[in-house]
Symmetry: C2
Subunit: 359 residues, 2 copies
């Protein structure tokens, strides 16, 4: 299949176009994973391992530090936006251009063009990032082969518009339930209204002042929000259950357990009958105080920003590897029909990483 033989001699922008033109919606990454494995297999300085449709390539040069460059191979469903198209303004259009085949192209170009890096390198290409967390290939590799992911610092090439975004905030979703007693609304006093009982919860949310802690020089910004409220039986019935679903986004100086404890504390005395954790993913510390990270920030330039959204850097953090997001894509364009990336940013990202790892 000539279309899937990757040419790592072209620049990262052209390589991005080739990657976009090999469809790899979540669950269908095999063709692309084969192509990546084959292309990396030709590079004598790398040892290539594979687990499912996840490909890991490493140097073993005995350097004092090891850094990881990671990216996912899958995309959301194609929406009539493949094959890719390069316009006259240097914008490359198509599914996955920004999220995140431009980042994958940069990884592959570094693998091919920096045979003697100043730090040992681990390249990770994984599947199923765009779907349910339990399918995530990075998670599967972390469970089955944690040694493949050992390192001092990781760069996840998810789109960050070419800026360094440090760590990520954790996210916790809990259901707060109030209960009452059903009754006909014509004789409401015979019941107890569970929706009214939720009043102190909403009042607490409305008055909540989120923390903005500074960690490794980055100012995070927490948030505690109701994302759903549900209650009601019928138009003439006093409701006996009301559920407020709350999403707590918290800075990475808090653990998952501390996040749950904080939410419990916030809603103490609000008449919550049941507090149930619905979903929880820890944050990730930026680790910008590590030597590899300092050198990275210096080499790529710009002023690091905190990452507010949850990303897979958290999985590295859980393995004890501080991680940042740094990629050419624009996260605001991800998953859109008119997804696109500035080829200028792809080339700049490629160049700066090469500079960091070569000098």
């Amino acid at each position: 299949m000539p279309h899937s033989a990757l040419d790592l001699h072209q620049d990262a922008a052209r390589l991005t176009a080739q990657l976009v033109d090999i469809p790899s919606e979540s669950g269908n990454e095999k063709v692309l994973a084969d192509a990546v494995e084959a292309a990396l297999g030709e590079l004598p300085h790398l040892r290539v391992d594979r687990y499912g449709n996840n490909v890991v390539a490493r140097t073993f040069l005995g350097r004092p530090e090891r850094v990881i460059l990671a990216g996912h191979l899958d995309t959301v469903p194609i929406a009539d936006n493949v094959p890719s198209r390069l316009d006259d303004d240097g914008l490359l259009w198509g599914c996955g251009t920004t999220d995140m085949k431009s980042g994958v192209a940069v990884q592959l170009r570094i693998a091919a063009t920096v045979p003697e890096p100043n730090r040992d390198l681990t390249f990770v290409f994984y599947d199923n990032e765009e779907v349910a967390a339990h399918l995530n290939g990075l998670g599967h590799v972390a469970e089955a082969h944690p040694d493949w992911l050992a390192g001092d610092f990781a760069v996840l090439l998810e789109g960050s518009e070419g800026e360094v975004e440090g760590g990520c905030q954790g996210t916790l979703r809990v259901n707060l339930r109030t209960t009452g007693v059903r009754a006909h609304s014509a004789r409401g006093w015979l019941g107890a209204n569970a929706i009214h009982a939720a009043a102190p919860i909403l009042a607490r949310l409305e008055a909540y002042e989120p923390r903005r802690p500074v960690i490794d020089g980055l100012e995070y910004h927490e948030g505690l929000n109701a994302v759903r409220v549900e209650g009601g039986v019928a138009g003439n019935v006093i409701p006996d259950v009301c559920t407020v679903t709350v999403n707590y986004r918290y800075a990475p100086d808090r653990s998952e357990e501390e996040a749950v404890a904080h939410v419990r504390e916030v809603f103490a005395g609000c008449g919550v009958d049941e507090l149930a954790v619905d979903d929880s993913s820890p944050g990730a510390l930026p680790g910008l105080d590590r030597p590899a990270a300092r050198a990275f920030v210096e080499a790529v330039g710009g002023r690091p920003r905190p990452k507010f959204g949850w990303t897979d850097v958290s999985r590295f953090s859980a393995l004890g590897v501080p991680a940042v997001n740094y990629g050419p894509g624009d996260p605001n364009l991800a998953h859109k029909r008119d997804e696109r990336v500035e080829t200028r940013l792809i080339l700049r990202c490629e160049e700066r990483l090469r500079h960091w790892l070569s000098s």
Copy 2:
């Protein structure tokens, strides 16, 4: 069809059983309406009119007062509980026993056995009470033949456990909407949370003190309750809309317009972006100060109670006819699979009405 020829010579309890055994689920009242029309047509002191499956029979004796005895012919869907069954404790079981063929039996017995009443009488039998309001036969008669429903006082023989229940409370349902701005919950400060914006609405509901006005000696009991709350887009999105549906049950000294004005006033300053009336039915004054009503209460005995739930007495009230509920059924057993009625109460109801209208 012998089974549908009604025998008005048996007592109201036995007649109830016969009525239950003629199925008449809403929309299928024709066989029963035919039987009622035929049976009343044999009584020379009555003029019988029919409109659809609604039957109206009247005396024209030139009495100074006219009272109406009304009841609906339809039942909710049968749930394996027809034919009727009389047990050793004098309980008659079956669909419609309490709601309200026992009341209809009492109407028919009075029609057959009081040929020279002390007040002119109007008997109303109507269809489609158990379904949507616009199908209600009493409403259709009121529109097409309001003169058939002229009178000084009406007794609706809906189940009230043999006690007089005066008038009824009105019911108003409104949707209170708050709005905000969507955003990813990881950057919640870029949005505005519509659920949080509903906090003052719930606080107002929780603090609300309902009125308990006394009208014609009956203490009503209002209520203002959230019966539904709905908001939320996804687990990671700041919601931009939240709707609290509120049900206001109000005493019959307030009009529909006054009820809406009251709700607007209660929620003024609560950040409601839209207040939309979803459903409205006015209350009905008990009219217990009218001579016919006074005599009625004296004749049937007991202490009149206010009616909290909405019933068709409100339709009489809208025509200027004060009305009460008075029937042998137990409203708590209505619509249940194990619906039943105490035959003792049917006979007592029959006897007391006959006493009121004969003495």
